[in-house]
Symmetry: C2
Subunit: 599 residues, 2 copies
Amino acid sequence: MLEEKKNKLEAIRHSLSHLMSMAIQELYPQVGLGVGPAIENGFYQDYDLPEAIGLEILPKLEKRMKELIRKNIKFEQHNVDFKQAYKFYQHDLYKTALIDDLKSVGEKSVSFYKSGEFDNLCAGSHVKSSGQIQSDSWKLEKLAGAYWRGDEKNKMLTRIYGLAFATKQELDNYLKMMEEAEKRDHRKLGKELDFFHIDEIVGSGLPLWHPKGAILWRIIEDFWYKEHLKNEYQLVRTPHIGNKILWETSGHWGFYNESMYPPLEIGQTLKENQNKEKTKNSEQFLLKPMNCPFHVQIFKNKPYSYRELPLRWAECGTVYRYEKKGELSGLIRVRGFTQDDAHIICRADQVENELKKVIDFILFIYKSFGFEIESVNVYLSIRDQELKKYAGTNQGWEFTEKVLERVALEKGLNIKKDVGGAVFYGPKLDFKVKDAIGREWQCSTLQFDFNLPERFDMTFVNEKAEKERPYMLHRALFGSFERFIGVLIEHYAGALPVWLSPVQVKIVSVGAAHAEFCQKLADEFKQNDIRVEVDESDETVGNKIRKAVAEKVPYMLVVGDRETASDKLAVRDRGEKQTREIDKERFIKEVKEKIKNRK
Amino acid sequence: MLEEKKNKLEAIRHSLSHLMSMAIQELYPQVGLGVGPAIENGFYQDYDLPEAIGLEILPKLEKRMKELIRKNIKFEQHNVDFKQAYKFYQHDLYKTALIDDLKSVGEKSVSFYKSGEFDNLCAGSHVKSSGQIQSDSWKLEKLAGAYWRGDEKNKMLTRIYGLAFATKQELDNYLKMMEEAEKRDHRKLGKELDFFHIDEIVGSGLPLWHPKGAILWRIIEDFWYKEHLKNEYQLVRTPHIGNKILWETSGHWGFYNESMYPPLEIGQTLKENQNKEKTKNSEQFLLKPMNCPFHVQIFKNKPYSYRELPLRWAECGTVYRYEKKGELSGLIRVRGFTQDDAHIICRADQVENELKKVIDFILFIYKSFGFEIESVNVYLSIRDQELKKYAGTNQGWEFTEKVLERVALEKGLNIKKDVGGAVFYGPKLDFKVKDAIGREWQCSTLQFDFNLPERFDMTFVNEKAEKERPYMLHRALFGSFERFIGVLIEHYAGALPVWLSPVQVKIVSVGAAHAEFCQKLADEFKQNDIRVEVDESDETVGNKIRKAVAEKVPYMLVVGDRETASDKLAVRDRGEKQTREIDKERFIKEVKEKIKNRK
């Protein structure tokens, strides 16, 4: 039933993209047609247009599409042989290329859908007739540029996006959710709260952290380190570059080199490098795309006994991966990010216990940052046995997949299986938290690895004094600091809990006469490890208050004549318009209590 | 007088290198002669020998050199014209190349020194006769490989090093000091204490920090951050790569590109990169050799008012600089290091106060880590007006050099002037600490910059609502974490103060029966934030104690029947052979007191 509903919605979305093409073809008869699929929440279609278009075209297209819907136009499939198909599209190089593709994979003929006068190369599916589409359940959303076939070297086409649902109610819900999401957008809030910026000159996908963002990072990092030490992890620390051999050995180079930065030739002069000479002493280094091989090399530096296992080695390691510019997004999709990484090297008989401990640790972390742990969804990614992109033996895969599933079930996690989602070296659990408006964010990952120990020939000395191969778990709790901070900003709409707020108390002086009192008060807070900022600028009190509100500071204290003459503080809590009176000591205790309890 | 003594010593050292060549020429008449200067503590000479030689040759050479000294051979200078010189060295391509050099700079003839049968292209100076050399004030030290002209592409010659002083006493003092230094060698201790290793596969000059080294780093970093916040710095955080334009703008690329890694082409496919194609979307990025341009870009992200200055922005930023393999050394000379960097952006009227604050901060840091601040030498590096390697106006240089010197004098620093040592963008103060055996180590640097603000067009809005150019101070207190930790290890010969020790208390169980008691004791220490490790392995107590001694743990507790039955602890302090009895509570208090007071 659900499946059926989904298929129907997909047919509606796809049909709307055809109706949109019909409308645009009326305006631009020579328009070139790129791809136009149904997508999550709607559809899009790429067009090669003879001129640039603006948003003002959308209402025109919508109007025409609604007319077409009212005409109840039939969608009819028919097969066309290649000769005819090529002829039909002789002026459209995009469609011609798509036909080439179909021919090259051995198709005998191609499928077209005809709706009214409009005939279109298309595999479907579609509604039977346009009358099945509710006119108020969809709208055209936005314009974007999109390279033909997603390749930056090709021509940029105009993509028109539409939103489409089964009912108006669903569309309205979606629009409301989007509006809410826009308010929470960490890119917008990150700028308003002065947390970070991405600099055009420095480079795309490489955030620069301003003082308020950097202190937030440090608070989180400090918490992370302390909890890791409590949980009997040890710290390690490794460089950001290393010999390419490491990732050739690990297999990452072979499997993922397209998302790595090109090798650095080291040991050459600049001139030799510019001339692209190969010199005898030159070595190829990579910006590290992951930390594992370094941790492995630390392990291999001396022999370990079975008694010393498990080793739990943690590092907040900044890694660099190449992402296409168009795929970058704020802190969520970047080109350099700091994994809160750890590798657990253990014996077979320790694997289950270690996996359970990591799961507990992940849930503890979510709780600490104010996420509901009951709603966390966990994706168990296993092999797709049809695909050949995995390393290691069948036996190894069967064992690790089974253990991982059993442990996840025993821990009562909400598991969803993702067949084919495994990493090349083993199966994994990906944890997705739900934020305050119900969106899922991928954060933690727990990966079971039986391949790297093999590839790097890692061994420990077992009870029989023989060499034995350990297992390795890769795990990150936040995923990355950048992403996690982005998620926190969106979850809290920037109004971070007291313990995480860069400025916990903002003191606003009414006039110059109160500045000294404010500074003394601030010193007292500082001595109590409370982060405080004084605004004693010569702006109006109203302006200073508005600024503090915009900064989403948890507590604001306005200090005028009355306050300097009294022992009581006038506290304005975030989100409140009224102030409350409270003893200074009681207030300090209240704030410290919140910090301690991570509220 | 001092100068005269220095010149005499240099003549002795240089003459010994000739005597060594005489001795080696007797063994290898066809030997090629590279360079052979007097150096600090002695001399060396490079030889192109027909066979590999071992250390066993040194006593033979020494014996022959002593015979030559006893013969009181005269050193006599004479001039030779180029034709004769070339003829004399027709079989020696190294000397021939050196003669070429002299000819190319326009010399009319060349200087030779003749000692006995040995005649040698040499500008001097030398002793009058070998009898002026005390036979027991020198010795041959070691062999090394050295590329001709220091270029890895040339042939590797054999370099023989000798030590030479004016008296036997001075030689003995030096040898004793070297012996002491060898015991303190951080490369050796770093391995023994399991702090770090430099991995052949990962790459030269790129240390990997093991758990004990990484926790030491974290302790230092935590202290550093807290003190910076106390001193009203703010944190920032920036990536490890950035567009090359940044360093072209700053001038670093122009002045220092030989010590940077080659640019990374970003936005290309791997194949395009391998084929060295230039693609339209590709940009050149650099591994950051310094943090400044990033901090500048944060400053430029929004307008600042004069009221908001000074800005003090701190970052422990890992930078990468290319050093030749032969110049790398443990943690002291590396290819990637973490600067404890900060940039202070301030108005002209704030410069003096900020400089003074930084000087106070530097001295506080040295004191905190147990260095004597009275013996710190400070090198004031200014322009050499003859050289052209500086940016900016004369006026700017004069102002900044004057202010820096005045502030340093007012602060009562031991200043030594280094004419020509300035950075291209401004003058600087370099601070050198003396370690426990009197060696000087360069750590802190305080650099005065009036050029980068110009090059990046940095401005703030002054009281008249006009744009004004700020000044910028660059400063690092440790210099780099790697180097500073290296210096700490050498200073303390690995026996770090309690607050810095990775393991503060080591508990040794006598037998299996005491293991549980040990673990309970350890938990109690942990709850008091004391770093503790339990050795409950089944080795002998003697072995376990020897191991703890080798680990240089400040406190060792041996737990047997007597201790489990009592409330008292048997504590063995580092360096002591006897244990002392102490109440557990008092002991915990003692350790916590040390940690708090950074002892």
